[in-house]
């Protein structure tokens, strides 16, 4: 399991878009936790439907590959984070990310979701995960997520097929 977790590495957080109701809770909580910078933001995908987009902490993260200084790196816990002391603000991660996640913030550093590192250090869940009213955002290692998603799929099956 450990190896699979390593392989899938970054997939530490999964957003269940079916459960998401687009209520902006994650965005607001993130904004609150990061001094007004929201790392998970909702975008209108059409028809007045808003869905959150945030870093996927990809297994083979292009931003890590493109970063010339190693500032963008994968931590031991699987989250892709920025090392401020190394970041030069070149914007390679911005250009490389297929999802357009990192941004350059003043005074010139890359900034992106760190899965609420200070909270995680204390053994807590990231803010968006903890506060999501529909539990649409799941966080954990690969096995937990897989199990959780399976349980949900089953529940849904029962719920919808029941009379």
């Amino acid at each position: 399991m450990e190896s699979i977790s390593r392989m899938y590495g970054g997939m530490n957080r999964v957003i269940n878009y079916e459960a998401c109701i687009g209520c902006f809770t994650c965005e607001e909580v993130c904004k609150f936790l990061h001094n007004g910078e929201a790392y998970i933001t909702l975008y209108e995908v059409g028809g007045g439907l808003n869905k959150p987009i945030s870093c996927f902490h990809c297994a083979k993260a292009p931003c890590v590959t493109a970063c010339p200084t190693g500032a963008m790196h994968r931590g031991s816990d699987g989250a892709v984070t920025v090392d401020i002391s190394r970041c030069i603000g070149c914007g390679a991660c911005v250009a490389a990310c297929p999802f357009g996640i990192p941004t350059i913030v003043p005074p010139g550093y890359a900034s992106k979701c760190d899965l609420c590192e200070p909270l995680r250090k204390e053994g807590l869940n990231p803010g968006c995960v903890a506060m999501c009213p529909t539990k649409a955002i799941v966080w954990g290692d690969y096995t937990t997520i897989a199990k959780e998603l399976r349980v949900r799929a089953l529940k849904k099956l029962i719920y919808t097929s029941a009379p």
Partner: protein, 567 residues
């Protein structure tokens, strides 16, 4: 309750001195003392209510080995809804800093402590000017900002940006200079410019006959808004800004800043970095002292001495360029390390040059000190007794010339100074000659220190830490013994750069004692007396204007005085 607090105080203390002092603080404060913590091995933070600040100041200033080091006002309204005042007291005998943290909401007045701690006078005025903190029990006036600055703008507050300030205040001085200033032109056609000290500087001297009766400092001409600027910068950009606080001793500021950040963020710096920093610091001391000796001789009219002092200094400048790539404002310092290594070849070259410098310097000092006018005009003038020096918490050669054996290199050791043995030249006369001799002796010591360091410098090539993590709202202190005295920087860290950065240059401390030195001095010796503290006005953000009062007020620049008195 009170006993509990005292117990906590004792548990965070570093040694017996800090223990007994903190106990006394606990006793006077009682439940007005809110929190005590050790923020770093050498720094203890004490949070007290403003009501008890005056009592604490009394207790601390009564101790023989406690000196007032600096005070920083910080606008922490975004996080705490409060302004914070950090009074830094240092226990010299133990090397411990006691940071007295006083919160205030900007409305209520904080008791002024400038009556018990004389040195705090300017700090309070500056906090009033730039931060809008109010103080009770003292007269408040403008110190840093121009007279026509709008009352309600406090530039260092977080809720106002540079752009907004620029929109609200445009200097109208130009109009004044040309239209209204015509009369003034009669008085000061050349302005406040003093070519020998090379900074705009103002003192107001009140003179009866030949003797200076009183002196007042009017200045802060060089206020460039450094601290506000730094708040919008990255951690690694600020060292360059810090170096440009002063073009003579800039490196001390960048080292002090980096040390403060390293202390706040708990960064272990490689040993070689410490060595390199220390070597450059001492090199800077040599060039600065030579510069000062030259300028002092120039003020005394002995131009030949000035030329020769600078001739010797030029060798040091070339050496600096060899080691750092720059003649001054070396730019090799970053948070967590330095950018340029010192290799074997450079070590050899440095040693050679230093030997030459030493020989020439000896010869030069012998000749220069034998010039009759130099001796005659230095001894017995500008006397500052040790007691006054203590009251003003003077630093550096100025303090050492008055018999206080204070030196940050020994008392609050940093860098690689604990690897070398050196002595601290101290003279007890307190006159201009004593201060001169302290500096002359220090050059020998510095050369000695560099030679010792070069002999033991580690051969590793690790000069910078790999990476470090910024944490917001940590307090760090960094101190360095600059050529002019102790420099102390207070840094409160932010996410990407310093949240608040308070620079305290040595001149800031020493200049407050200059009026005392000037009292009773012959007018002609006023310039050399002012220069004897080695004032660095750009460090202090300030300048001097001379105003001689002979019945009516006149304005006269320093250099006129250097030629003699007014009848």
């Amino acid at each position: 309750m009170v006993s509990d607090i005292i117990e906590t105080l004792a548990s965070v203390a570093r040694g017996s001195r800090s223990k007994s002092i903190l106990t006394k603080v606990g006793e006077v404060c009682g439940d007005k003392l809110l929190k005590v913590e050790r923020v770093s091995p050498s720094t203890i933070k004490v949070l007290i209510k403003a009501d008890c600040l005056h009592e604490v100041a009394e207790v601390l200033s009564a101790e023989r080995d406690v000196y007032f080091r600096t005070m920083a006002a910080s606008d922490e309204r975004p996080a705490e809804n409060l302004f914070k005042l950090y009074y830094v007291f240092g226990i010299d005998s133990e090397g411990t800093n006691i940071v007295v943290e006083v919160p205030t909401d900007g409305e209520r007045e904080v008791p002024s402590i400038s009556d018990v701690v004389k040195a705090c006078d300017w700090y309070e005025l500056e906090a009033h000017d730039l931060m809008g903190v109010k103080f009770s029990g003292r007269f408040l006036k403008r110190l840093v900002l121009p007279d026509d600055w709008p009352e309600e703008i406090h530039p260092l507050r977080k809720d106002i940006t540079t752009e907004e300030i620029k929109k609200l205040y445009q200097p109208q001085v130009v109009k004044r200079a040309v239209e209204l200033g015509v009369e003034e032109i009669v008085k000061i056609p050349i302005g406040p410019y003093h070519p020998a000290l090379h900074e705009p500087e103002y003192f107001e001297l009140y003179v009866r006959g030949e003797k200076v009766v009183d002196a007042r400092y009017v200045g802060f001409m060089v206020h460039r808004g450094i601290e506000k600027l730094a708040e919008s910068m990255k951690y690694d950009q600020v060292p360059f800004l810090a170096e440009r606080i002063c073009g003579i001793c800039g490196f001390v500021h960048s080292v002090s800043y980096t040390q403060a950040v390293e202390e706040a963020l708990n960064i272990e710096v490689p040993e070689k970095t410490q060595y390199i920093r220390t070597i450059i610091l001492e090199l800077e001391r040599i060039h600065s002292h030579l510069l000062w000796i030259g300028v002092a001789l120039h003020l005394l009219g002995y131009d030949t001495g000035f030329m020769h002092a600078w001739r010797i200094r030029e060798k040091v400048m070339v050496l600096s360029e060899l080691l750092t790539g720059s003649r001054k404002t070396y730019g090799i310092n970053l948070v967590g390390g330095v950018r340029k290594d010192i290799n074997k070849e450079k070590i050899e070259k440095t040693k050679q040059t230093l030997k030459q410098v030493l020989n020439e310097y000896k010869e030069f000092v012998d000749v220069a000190t034998s010039v009759p006018q130099v001796r005659r005009r230095l001894s017995g003038t500008g006397v500052l007794p040790g007691g006054e020096a203590r009251a003003y918490s003077l630093v550096g050669p100025t303090a050492r010339g008055s018999g206080l054996s204070r030196d940050v290199r020994k008392d609050y050791t940093y860098g690689a100074y604990h690897f070398v043995s050196f002595s601290i030249p101290t003279y007890s006369e307190g006159d201009n000659l004593a201060r001169t001799l302290v500096r002359i002796d220090e050059v020998y010591e510095s050369i000695n220190i560099i030679e010792q360091l070069l002999d033991t410098i580690p051969s590793s090539s690790e000069i910078k830490v790999d990476s470090w993590e910024p944490q917001p709202m940590k307090l760090g202190l960094g101190n360095v013994e600059a050529p002019r005295g102790e420099v102390i920087h207070v840094v409160i860290t932010g996410k990407y750069g310093p949240y608040r950065w308070r620079v305290r240059a040595p001149t800031y401390q020493n200049l407050q004692a200059v009026p005392t030195m000037l009292r009773g001095v012959d007018l002609a010796d006023a310039p050399i007396t002012i220069a004897s503290i080695d004032p660095c006005f750009s460090c202090t953000d300030r300048a001097i204007k001379i105003n001689i009062k002979t019945g009516k007020v006149e304005f006269i620049p320093l250099e006129v005085l250097s030629r003699g008195g007014v009848r």
